[in-house]
Structure formats: C-alpha cells, structure tokens
Chain length 156, copies 2
DNA sequence: GTGATTCTGGATATCTAGTGTCTAGAAATC
DNA sequence: GATTTCTAGACACTAGATATCCAGAATCAC
C-alpha cells in the first residue's frame, strides 16, 4: 500500500476539523510532506469526489461531504485504485485438462478464497468513517481539534 | 501482492496430490512459468517450512506437512513477508502538539483501524487450508488429481 | 484590469521492489 | 565419475511509486 494512503487519511481528518479551504502547502507543512507530490494525491481525492478544490487566494481543499459519509475504504480505493490486492493471472488456463473459455478469476478456488478474504478487509474499511476516527482521536485527545486549528492559522 | 503468491498457491495444491518430489522444471512447465524464478519462490517456501527439498536425480520439492496444516496465510506470509499491507510511517509525530516518545503505530487511530481490517483479512486466510481448497477443486472437478498426476508423469 | 495565489495537467527524473537470468557450488543418485 | 537437482549470490530489466517542475487556468485582492 503506497504512502499516499496515510497522507490522504490524515489530510481528510484534518480537513474535517476545518471549515475554510486549506491549500496544499499548508497541509504539507503540517506533516513536513513534499508539497507538490501531496498535491497530486489531493487532486486524486478530488477526482474521487472526496474533496473539493477552489483556486485562487484563500483557495485550497475541503471535504466534499460530511465526514460520516467518507469511509476509510473510499480513501484507500481513491488512492490505490479499485484493483484487488491479489490479482489472479489465471495461470490455471495453462494447466492440464483445462479449457480456454473459462474465466479462472471466477472459477479458480484460490481466486475465490483470496477474494473472500479481501471482502472481509474491505467490509471493515467500509464500516469505519472519518467521523469514527475523529471521535476516537477526540476521545483520547480532546485538544486535538483546537491544536489543529491553531496550527493551521499559524501557518496561514 | 506479487505474482509469486499465485504460483506458490498452485504449486502447493499440486504437490498435495503427489507423493514423490517434483523438480522445479516440471512444476514450471506445468503452467509455463519461468523456471529459475519459480525456483526462487519454492526456495522461499522451503525456508518457511512449507516445503522440503531434496537434491539430485528424482529430487525436487514436496509438501513439508499435511495440506490441512498449510493455511493460505502461511503461503502468503512466506512469499510476501510478515509486514502489514498498510505501513504507518508515523507522520503524526511531525504534527502539532505531539511528542517524539510516542509510537504512533500503536496510538494513531488510523493505524489501529487499518490493522483491524487487516486482521480480518488474515483471519480469513488463516482459516482456509490447502486441504480446504483441494476439497473445493475436487468437488467441482473430480478428475483434477488424476489429470495432474498424469501430466506430471508425462513431463517427467 | 493587473498581479498574486492556488489548483490542474502533463512531462520528466529518480528510486525501489518485483521480475527474471545466469553461474558456481553443493548434495544426491546411478 | 557423470548427471540431476537444489542453493546462493550476482546481475540486469521493468514497472510502479515517489518526487520535481512548469505552463496554463481559475480566482481573488487591489
């Protein structure tokens, strides 16, 4: 899993605490990330409908929907793409006693087992929203939202 | 997930149908895989204790244990390594109001959520053995074991 | 309108991990 | 002793991830 996922998760959490758009540079300074590259990930989130962007001064990125409506799976899929972790290359089609017309991504017992496991993973991720994580964080660190807002104001 | 996982899974299934050691070349011919590279994966499975190898004529690879005792997770971990899919780089440690002494792989709510999801995935894989898959295959294709043995004998 | 800020998209460079080959050597068989 | 096969390491190639840069468009402040 690429590092962009971690960046995107934390970016979405921070944006959930902020009302005004935040530019890439500010978000990057927040965690000392490479600004131009982070911007690419944020663009990807925009294309996925998770963020919205506005150009110009006082522009930047905001959450496109309520944090309750953004699951961790949404973010992972946006950054990593919709492909499965395990890719079945249908090597069975080269095996003995097999026919060319079969889609082994469906019929191969390994492909099915791997897909079942992945579904369990995706189900967990789909069941956890940015709002859930935010509640977890605020439970342990009630000062986190204020800290974040203060730091953002400071960097502006 | 690398290609080697698919190869390793099918190799283990086929070896579960065979009593005598099978050399790399035969296994590679089976699915038209690059022999030298497949051999590397098989060596990895040997180091993980999943296969045993014997040198010399009539040598090759065999399952080291009963197929009931080899889970899909065993094979995945052997090939891919024990690292988690989501690597927490603890970018929070650069954030505001945070201290250097904290292990964010434990305390970051995202790291925990991602790990929980991965545990669900691993649980599924750990619960499915090569024997289970073999039973699935034989249920749909009772001729599979005989086909495999015939093809192996032919290639020998 | 002009200039400054910021996003967008594409081109490009670099680094890393996965893929693959090759060879010398060790182990086992015949 | 000759052959087969695994082992281990060196090496090359490729694809994807990481990262930078720039020209252009959108927006805002003045």
């Amino acid at each position: 899993m690429s590092r962009g996922v971690e960046w995107a998760l934390h970016a979405c959490l921070n944006l959930s605490w902020l009302d005004d758009p935040v530019p890439t540079g500010t978000l990057a300074a927040f965690y000392e990330l490479p600004s131009a590259y982070l911007n690419k990930q944020l663009q990807t989130l925009v294309r996925a409908g998770i963020l919205t962007s506005t150009s110009g001064p006082r522009g930047g990125f905001r959450l496109a929907r309520a944090p309750e409506a953004v699951s961790l799976l949404d973010i992972v899929v946006a950054i990593e793409g919709p492909e499965e972790l395990f890719r079945c290359d249908q090597i069975l089609s080269k095996g003995p006693g097999e026919h060319a017309g079969v889609d082994y991504r469906q019929s191969c017992a390994f492909a099915r087992a791997m897909r079942d496991a992945e579904l369990a993973w995706r189900r967990e991720l789909a069941g956890k929203s940015v709002a859930d994580v935010r509640a977890d964080v605020e439970h342990g660190h009630p000062e986190a939202p204020a800290n974040t807002r203060a730091r953002i104001a400071e960097l502006r």
